[in-house]
Symmetry: C2
Amino acid sequence: TNFSIMVVGESGVGKTTFVNTLFSTVLKDSRVLHERHTHQLERTISIDVVRADVEEKGFKVRLTVVDTPGFGDYMNNQDCWVPIIDFLDDQHHNYMKAESSGARKGIDDVRIHACLYFIQPSGHTLKSLDIEVMKQLGSRVNLIPVIAKADTITPKDLATFKARILDCLKAHNIKYYIPSFEDDDEETTLVTQSIVSAMPFSVISSETEVMVDGKPVRGREYLWGVAEVENEAHCDFKKLRNLLIRTHMHDLITSTEEEHYETFRSTKLLS
Amino acid sequence: TNFSIMVVGESGVGKTTFVNTLFSTVLKDSRVLHERHTHQLERTISIDVVRADVEEKGFKVRLTVVDTPGFGDYMNNQDCWVPIIDFLDDQHHNYMKAESSGARKGIDDVRIHACLYFIQPSGHTLKSLDIEVMKQLGSRVNLIPVIAKADTITPKDLATFKARILDCLKAHNIKYYIPSFEDDDEETTLVTQSIVSAMPFSVISSETEVMVDGKPVRGREYLWGVAEVENEAHCDFKKLRNLLIRTHMHDLITSTEEEHYETFRSTKLLS
Ligand SMILES: Nc1nc2c(ncn2[C@@H]2O[C@H](COP(=O)(O)OP(=O)(O)O)[C@@H](O)[C@H]2O)c(=O)[nH]1
Ligand SMILES: Nc1nc2c(ncn2[C@@H]2O[C@H](COP(=O)(O)OP(=O)(O)O)[C@@H](O)[C@H]2O)c(=O)[nH]1
C-alpha cells in the first residue's frame, strides 16, 4: 500500500523533527529509511521527499512524507502557497492522465492522502497566512491542523487555544479531516470519538530519547522535566500517529481517491 | 527619572506577558500601575503605553513601556517597521524642537532608552523580517535582542541558537546594545561580563506564581515541571531586568540622549 503525507508550516515550527519522530516510532529499524530527495518547486519553495517501507500489523506500507521548506519564510508571503497547491493538483492531474490513457494498472499513487498543517503555538489565534492556506488546502486534500511544539503551552492555555482554533476554522469555513464513524462497532466508535475530541492535535516531537524512571523515553529534556512525545497527557502525538498509520489510513486513502479526486476531475471536466 | 522601554515582535511572541512580568517583579504594589493607553500609529500598527512609578533602591523611576501590537502579523510584512521607526524619530524630533525653542527645562523625555526585539524561538536562525527590522532599529535606539519563550528550547539547543543569532547579527552589521565597561571596579566588571556573555538574553515570562517546594515562584507550570522566570539556570530574565532597571539604566538613558540623539540631530541638520 502506498500512503503519502505532506507537512506544511513555517521554518522552525518542527516539521522535520516530527517526520523523523514519526518514522522512528513506526520503523523497527531506522536503516530502512531508504529514500530522501529534494525538488525545487519554485524559486521560493522546495519539497523534500522521505520514503520508507514500514510494516504495520503485518501490512506492508510504503510511507512517503513530503516536507515543504521555504513556505511562509519571507517578508512578503502573499501567494506563497501557490506552489504547494499546484503540486497537489499536479498529482491528481498525472493520475487522471494515466487513467485516461488506460495505464491505470500499476499507477504509483503519489497523491497526498493527508496534509498536516503546523500551527505556531502563539497561544492567540490563527494568523491570516494560516487561514488563507488552510482554506486552499482543505478543499483539495485531507487537511489535519496540528498545534506544533505543544510543550510551549500550559494545559489550561492549550485547551483555550484548541477551542479558539476550532472556532476560527469554522468561522472561515475551512474544511478539515474528521474521521468517519460509519460501520464502526462500539469500541472503535469510542476510539474515534477520543481522537475527534482531541482535535486539533497538539504535538511534541523529539529525535532523542532520555531516561525517565530508569526507562528510555522519547522526549525533550528540560532542566525542569521531560516533555514526553508518547505520553497522552503531554500531547496528542500518539492519537495522530494511530489515526494516520493504524485506524484511519484506509479512510484517508479512499477519501483522497474518491472524494478529492472526483472534485478535481469534475473541476477539470467543467473547465 | 524617566525611563522608557519599547518591546517589538510578532503577535503571540510574549511581549505583553513580559511587560506584566517586568512590572510585577519591580512594583511592590501592582495597583501603582496607573496609566495604560493605546494610540493607532497606522492602519496596521498601534502602540500600547503602560506607565508606573517604580522605586528602585531609593530612586524614584517613572517606568514607561511601549508595546507594538500588529507588527509582523500580516501576509505581506514589507515595510511593517516604518511606523515604529517613524515613532522613534518623532520622539527625537519633538525633543529637538522643544530644545531649540528654549523649552528644555521640564521636557518630558519620551525618547525610548531601550528597545527589546523579541525573536521567535525557532531554533534555526533569524528571519529576514528580524534582520531588516533590527538593522533599522539598531542604528536609532539601544537595541536589545531577546529570545522569547525560552522554555521552548532545550539547554544545548539554546546555546547553539544564541551563537547562531550572534553570528547573524554580526554578518548583517546589526548594531545592538553592549553595556560599557569603563570606570567599573572589579566586581562590577564581573557582573557586566556575565551579562554580556549571556546575550542575546533568553526570557521566560509568567503572570502567575506556582508553588515549588512549598514556596510561591513566578513560572510556567507544565505537567512535567515548572519553568521559573527568576531562576538564572532557566533563563536570563533576571540578568535582563537588572541591566534595565538596576545596573545600566543610567547608561541606557545617557547613550540615548547623547549618542542616538546626536546621530538624529546631525542627520536632521544635514538634510
Ligand atoms: N519545544 C519544541 N521544540 C521542538 C519540537 N520539535 C522540534 N523542535 C525544535 O524546533 C527547532 C526546529 O525544528 P525543525 O524540525 O528543524 O523545524 P522545521 O524547520 O519546521 O523542519 C529545532 O531546534 C527542534 O529541536 C517540539 O515539539 N517542541
Ligand atoms: N512558553 C511560553 N509561553 C509564553 C511565555 N510568555 C508568554 N507566553 C504565552 O504566549 C501567549 C502569548 O503571549 P502574549 O504576551 O499575549 O504575546 P504578545 O502578543 O506578544 O503580547 C500567551 O498564551 C502566553 O501565556 C513564555 O515565556 N514561554
